[in-house]
Symmetry: C2
Subunit: 361 residues, 2 copies
């Protein structure tokens, strides 16, 4: 990223850009175009609604966290008819509830998170996509894969996902500033009839330009240079290995939390990107987060909305390995001990080690 | 930018973000909020129309280059009634033509470029703003200052400019990826009645969050870290000095072009950000651009649309000094000589030196 910046309209940069686009296809498991957008992941969520849908459309949203809520908010901002399935934060949606809705209503798209970053839960992408195809084959399957793509299976083409999103600061190990989007041919067909206004996020203009190796508007060149390097590293490690590494880190983190007497917010269907640890009634999540930051320089996130103070979220996505997770568990054990929580010293590390040994490739 | 990335929701980052926002105020010469948006300059152009205007509004656009055209395209994308004043590429608009239009029509906003990057011309921001106030005080004055802010006077508060835009890759010396926008109180009042849909670029949500030191969506943290450093450098040099430096570089470049027998596209009102050199009928601009790149490693831009092959655009914006411009003129002289253009060797450098000595502080 610190290399000399190359002008985004030069032939030299076009080759770099094409390498990045091509590399993304491998991680998104698709042969479709993967667009690179200057903006945060929310930019591609907005663009999904405003490009592939129309004001008269009805959308079905799985709302099981802050990012599920965001799909609904965007739909409402553009005047669509939004139907939501409310799911308790931390749980995955029961795909059969989606089936029932589809039997009784007609939707232009079903929107959900492959990994709900606010809760650490993972909705069952493959099953939902299959049910949508069975019940309403014309309905688009829209997957927010922002924290899922790369770190857990999101098989765009094989599962028939119509729109899949991600962002540079997640599995791609870069600073924030780029978002990615891929879409199926039938999704692109919808852009022709979309009546929603857009300019900066007009994906049809973007797609045409990006097929020629340029973005429609000015490219964040430093981040694209970083992306080429990140994709090279990812392809070198291999997608299966990356996903298995994230699975091992997730399972190690979950086992450690339980071994020291803490709970898990996402009990049945965890995301591999992060672990949301439920502190229970006696413990203040804020005190643990503060201890990790101040005494160990380790930053973990708290809860959002009604989960504030009740959970802590450990991100283990991207440039993270066994050593990082063990160091974090060790620090968490010491912080817990300092605030008077009782458990067997080293129990978290031991439980984590068992999982890491079992699951590492 | 290569510093350890700090999470954008942390208190530590909030302080950094506030420093950046505050520093921007000085460069925009305003006491208003300066918003930082993840995206290219076009994102803030889009956001200007979709937040401060409504579908029933009529807008007046000065269309004297590719970016003037862009204002009109965005207005049309959102269904506004777009009136344009077409200006020959390379010329500045005659402000009295704007006065005449305002006498005969009612507009919600007048849109123009303080510096038209496609031609190197500069529309007279101060005069246009005064005329709008005289003729139609309710009309918003909307200034694309993307290549102007920082390098030439754009006195937001003193001149009563309602909306002013810029971007990280211009006077701010950073890679692309951030765009900036400031707006007057009366512009913010318009957001309450705007009927255009938006979500990612909803500036009211952004403003509220940014007043607390955060962006609404994920922040490109690396670029913001760079912005703090860039603003520190800019404040250290001083805005007057920066603007005078750009003035000297511009005049030097223009004098050099004429001294070696080339023409200037923007004859009467040059931007200080770039110089568009007209090659005349006997010379191929493409050959000069190629020679500069291949023989000297110097990148200059060509023309856009009908000016392709006819002009070359030398950017002298941001991290540029006398040495850079002299080196470029020397290289241009040698390339011109190689392709058989005749002029006195060193004439360009001599003319440039006279201007640099006269105008440097």
């Amino acid at each position: 990223m610190s290399d000399c910046q190359i002008h985004h309209r030069s032939n030299e940069f076009k080759e770099i850009f094409k390498t990045a686009s091509e590399g993304l296809r491998g991680i998104f498991e698709t042969r479709q175009d993967c667009l690179i957008i200057a903006g945060s992941g929310t930019a591609t969520m907005d663009a999904t609604v405003s490009n592939f849908f129309s004001s008269s459309d009805r959308m079905l949203v799985v709302r099981g966290g802050k990012f599920g809520e965001r799909w609904a908010e965007i739909g409402e901002a553009y005047g669509l008819d939004v139907d939501a399935i409310d799911v308790e934060w931390g749980r995955a949606v029961d795909p059969e509830i989606i089936r029932t809705r589809l039997k009784n209503n007609s939707y232009a798209g079903v929107f959900f998170q492959a990994s709900e970053t606010s809760t650490g839960a993972s909705h069952s992408t493959e099953t939902i996509a299959r049910i949508v195809k069975e019940e309403q084959p014309e309905t688009l399957v829209v997957v927010d894969g922002i924290t899922a793509v790369g770190c857990m299976p999101v098989r765009t083409d094989a599962w028939g996902l119509d729109i899949v999103l991600s962002g540079s600061q997640k599995a791609f190990m870069l600073p924030p500033g780029l978002a990615f989007l891929t879409a199926s041919d039938r999704a692109w067909d919808r852009t022709k009839s979309s009546d929603l206004p857009k300019y900066y996020l007009n994906l049809s203009i973007e797609r045409k330009k990006q097929q020629g190796g340029q973005t429609a508007w000015t490219t964040p060149t430093a981040l694209v240079l970083g992306l080429v390097k990140a994709l090279e590293m990812m392809h070198q490690e291999g997608l299966d290995h990356i996903q298995q590494r994230h699975h091992a880190l997730s399972e190690a983190c979950r086992a450690a939390a339980q071994a020291v007497g803490l709970g898990l917010l996402a009990q049945d269907a965890p995301s591999r990107a992060l672990t949301a640890i439920h502190c229970g009634d006696g413990l203040d999540a804020g005190a643990i987060i503060k201890g990790l930051r101040e005494d160990f320089g380790i930053r973990v996130a708290g809860g959002q909305e009604h989960l504030k103070g009740r959970i802590l979220r450990i991100g283990h996505l991207g440039w993270v390995d066994d050593g990082d997770i063990l160091r974090t568990i060790s620090a968490m054990e010491r912080v817990l001990s300092n605030i008077g929580h009782s458990f067997d010293c080293g129990a978290g590390l031991q439980a984590a080690e068992e999982k890491l040994r079992e699951l590492s490739l």
